[in-house]
């Protein structure tokens, strides 16, 4: 039963509602060591809610969630920090765990923001702050990383580098990652398992399986499905993907 020991978090028929309105319902998934599970789906499909259920932030849920580790790193989609706090990047890095200075420096260097270490958190740009958030989450060397739109607001080259970093972290730390992303191109390069949400699990499986799924096509349209299949041809060339270059 070695595969069972690798499970970090497991959702079974999980759902959450606010004021009788279901945000998401009937989600079953599991994240294992060294694996990347990606949640995709349109706005309001319950991706962030699912992540928060997995993290135990929402308590009154339907179904069951089992978490087998306490070493968790979280990058939330939205974070509102009250600037009545005088908080530097360095203070923020040790928010939930005390870390050695070298480890903080290493994580900040990996995400390319070491030069901001002594800056006030409130003075950072959106993209810089996002890099700090990611650095904080990985610096703890967690077993489970939950990344909700981790590269939002990050510039184009940075985005690719950070996704590569995420893949590298998953391999090196052998940690499980629950990733939420809108960028289908990049997501598919590293993902082991895709869960497509639309208030419920509309389909799930390997990226290739999901791309072929009719419900997925209906949800995202033909173009998205082409992205996935085209991606398959360019497995090692995500940097030079044509659509991306045009966008830049």
């Amino acid at each position: 039963m070695s595969s069972n020991q690798n499970i970090l978090v497991k959702l079974k028929d999980a759902g959450f509602k606010i004021n009788d309105k279901w945000l998401v319902q009937g989600v079953s998934l599991q994240v294992e060591k060294g694996k990347i599970v990606t949640l995709i789906g349109p706005n309001g499909s319950g991706k962030s809610t699912t992540a928060k259920i997995a993290l135990g932030i929402y308590k009154k849920i339907e179904g069951a969630v089992e978490k087998f580790t306490n070493k968790v790193g979280y990058v939330p989609q939205k974070i509102s920090i009250d600037w009545t706090l005088p908080l530097r990047v360095n203070d923020f890095m040790v928010l939930t765990e005390n870390l050695k200075s070298e480890i903080i420096d290493e994580a900040l260097s990996l995400t390319g923001v070491i030069h901001l270490k002594d800056k006030n958190l409130g003075d950072l740009s959106g993209g810089e702050f996002q890099r700090v958030l990611l650095a904080r989450a990985i610096s703890k060397k967690p077993d489970l990383l939950v990344l909700d739109e981790p590269v939002q607001g990050v510039d184009f080259t940075g985005e690719i580098a950070l996704y590569e970093l995420i893949k590298k972290i998953s391999d090196e730390l052998d940690c499980g990652i629950l990733l939420i992303s809108h960028d289908l191109h990049t997501v598919m390069s590293a993902t082991d398992h895709v869960v497509c949400l639309n208030g419920h699990v509309c389909c799930s499986g390997s990226p290739t399986d999901v791309a072929k799924n009719e419900e997925y096509k209906a949800l995202f349209g033909d173009q998205a499905s082409q992205i996935l299949s085209r991606y398959e041809h360019k497995h090692d060339h995500i940097h030079t993907d044509e659509g991306k270059i045009k966008k830049n």
Binding site: P76, S80, T84, P86, L95, T96
Partner: protein
């Protein structure tokens, strides 16, 4: 050189300032000044009950303030009234009930001014023990819950997701608030305790660049306020509470000049 009562007041005030410094920072960060007000207003009820039943004042205030805090949490769950309305409701109701009860206690001579604004003549050796032992316990507990409390102050969901149990830290902090009010009531008086919590911390915010610095400056500010306040209280024969708070306010105004300088430097 000084009378015994003054030394006692000074030792008591220093003890209070050491504790209100760090707690006050959290009161500002978590936007709890009105919550602090509500708890301290309810302290009057605690004091009157202590007199009626010949009970220790600090303990009685601690119990009543904790009960008010629990009532507030329950009311928040069960009504649709906004938080500030509930705070006002509890603050003024408990103050009113306290004053009504005092009206019935004609057999006891009551120094109501001393109660409301603090009285340095009233500090006894027992009070010193309560302040220093109680204060040490408060600081120790605050140190233990610092990490989860601070993390959840910055962001609740991060703290919860990463397993720090912020709800427990918040509940413990509420109790600590009731405790600091209980031990500082004789010095500062129940109308001005929140001032002792927030004014030195607000001063510290103006001149700090990190949370640790803010805590240290807040303690220093509190200590200076107590020392300046008590000496002027002795000199001008004013109540100790208003004198301490006025000193704290003057320090706050001084700290504004530091901000001006920093802004100039930036530009």
């Amino acid at each position: 050189m000084f009378d015994d009562f003054f030394i006692r007041a000074l030792v008591a005030g220093i003890g209070v300032a050491l504790v209100t410094g760090p707690l006050g920072c959290f009161v500002i960060w978590r936007r709890l000044s009105y919550f602090g007000d509500t708890l301290s207003h309810s302290a009057l009820l605690g004091v009157t009950l202590a007199f009626t039943m010949e009970f220790n004042i600090a303990l009685s205030v601690f119990i009543i303030s904790s009960l008010i805090a629990l009532t507030l949490i329950q009311l928040q769950k069960r009504t649709n009234l906004p938080g500030d309305a509930l705070l006002g409701l509890l603050a003024h109701s408990s103050l009113a009930v306290g004053l009504v009860v005092i009206g019935f206690l004609t057999f006891i001579r009551f120094d109501i001014m001393g109660l409301l604004f603090g009285d340095i003549l009233a500090v006894t050796v027992d009070d010193l023990l309560i302040i220093w032992i109680g204060g040490a316990v408060i600081l120790l507990i605050l140190k233990l819950i610092w990490k989860p409390l601070f993390a959840s102050t910055v962001n609740y969901e991060l703290a919860e997701a990463e397993g720090l149990n912020p709800d427990r830290a918040k509940a413990i902090f509420t109790i600590l608030m009731a405790a600091i009010i209980a031990i500082s009531i004789k010095m500062v008086g129940l109308l001005l305790i929140t001032g002792m919590l927030i004014i030195p911390a607000a001063m510290a915010r103006n001149i700090s660049t990190s949370p640790q610095k803010m805590v240290i400056f807040s303690i220093i500010g509190g200590l200076l306020s107590v020392i300046l306040g008590l000496f002027s209280s002795l000199e001008f024969n004013t109540s100790s509470g208003p004198s301490i708070i006025t000193a704290a306010f003057l320090l706050f105004i001084l700290s504004l000049f530091k901000i001006k300088q920093t802004i100039k430097l930036k530009n």
